[in-house]
Amino acid sequence: MTLRYAFFPGCTLESAAEELMISTQKVASALGIELIEINGWTCCGASHIQDVDELLATSINARNIALGEKLNVTKILTVCNTCTLMLRTAKFKLDNRDKLREKVNIGLNNAGLEYKGTTEITHFLWALIQDYGLENLKKKVKRPLTGLKVANFYGCHILMPPDIMGFENPMNPQSMEMVMDVLGAESVDFDQRLACCGFHAVFPAEKEVMGLTGKNCLSPKSSGADCIVTPCPLCQMQLDAYQPDAQKGWKEDITMPILHLPQIIGLALGFSPKELAIQRHVVDAIPVLNEALQPV
């Protein structure tokens, strides 16, 4: 049976994190998962639009979900924590508040659409565990990542708030460790494992967020990690692309390569770092991977 999802890529996958688009598609295809991109999707609002207009924030995501519903699949899948949270927040409100749903549907009707509430919203990490099955993923591993020490950086928006996300307890999540286990990589425990990356306030709170980035890189480094892996492209961008800026605030070398979740899965499936576009990261991850990875 082929798993089919309506795919909501989110804005970063179109430019800053195009490597996540490349690696997600390669990995999905190798696993036999069909991703049907939602035609005409818009930005999820990235946790900002509700600060201008809450009804609008809910409405644009009602539109995104309604477009996904038309694809006759049971779930919409994203690879971004914040996209998942924004879509699920809209769905939570629309499914629980009849008057709001009616109101939002008046606006959607003007766009020729209707929110029905027939489709779930999931994240790639959850889909692997819940739908694909880790035992099936294990069968696909061609190059176990033996010897690679990874620091799993969850990011806030795949965990919280639990009323809306609800996949696992945000105080002690295990999903990333479960996946790494199957891939053969060693998960390293570190203080900042469940920390916030600060990305959403990097402009108004630049000083604070840069301090946080340094801390988030140093913590896994002192625990012996070779790289950070994250299920969120926004955490990835904050920790990777801003790392040279964050370095300026620290005497210690904070260098820490940051990988997307599908990239590390792709490595275990036998793809080369180049095929997964790992060379696109600002902090070069390839030397540490070359050292740790066995040839296929």
Partner: protein
Amino acid sequence: MYTILYFKIKRFDGTNEWEQSYSLPYEKGKTILWVLNTIREQQDPTLTFTSACRHAICGSCAIRINGNAFLTCKTSLDEVLDIFNTNHLTFEPLKNFDVIKDLSIAWEPKMEKMEQVKPWLIPSNEGSVESGFLQDEEDYHKIAAPTDCILCGVCASECNQLAVNDGTYLDPFILNRAYRFAIDSRDAAPEEHIRPVYENELWKCLHCMQCVTKCPKGIPLTEQISYLRQESIKMGEVKNQGAKHAFAFHDDVRNKGRLNEMMLPVKTDGLINTAMTKIPFALRMIKKGKINPLQIPKAVEGIKGVREIYKFAKEVSES
């Protein structure tokens, strides 16, 4: 199930800090406060913590357990053992507070900080001592959730901005208090509660969702922060990085449907500031192919429908 439970408690006597170990036989159906009381009564009378009502009303007994803030009287020991999947628990005082002794924290500096938002009703002319101050049901429901706050400090302990801030940013429970009066139909001057919030770095909230996740009363703190931001915008405070950043997303979705990452810093920081501060960042992004300065984003399919939705939302907000 476990037979023995092991506790490490962070101690502080005003000068020295240390970690002290205790153990207790497991008992089913107890609370964390039972653990603390049992240790104090049976093993160590010097252990200091605060508690009073035992019913999640007084808000005095919050501590951190394995790094997460809980109200000890409301939290089941079995639940905590289950969440952390261990019989080794670490108790620490709340974060982002001064510690007085062991697990007890100082509230006075926080109360002084809270005064800035005028956490009291500034009565409108519609009520009086003689006639009373009636409020209809809908308006009452607006203040019901924020009034549930018991000032336990859990939200402040978990706040990721407070942890890195210089002390200006207001604790989530203070934001809640400002919201509670700003939204009260009987209050004559919402701006007097909102302006100090705005001026104390309102836009620095990191959107980490810790406060709303951990609040033992389920108060929708992050939605309140959104409301306070919306109101600050209505008060004309639009020329700050936070509001400009939010509008960049808002406007990009209306114009093309998707975010223009290339233009985001310019829209948030202005051209000159971007040129002065973001050039190394931009160059490294271009070098890695992460942003393409020549790419002009096309509008998504159905953009006219998107704009209809904007039009509708605007009509609703103006009605």
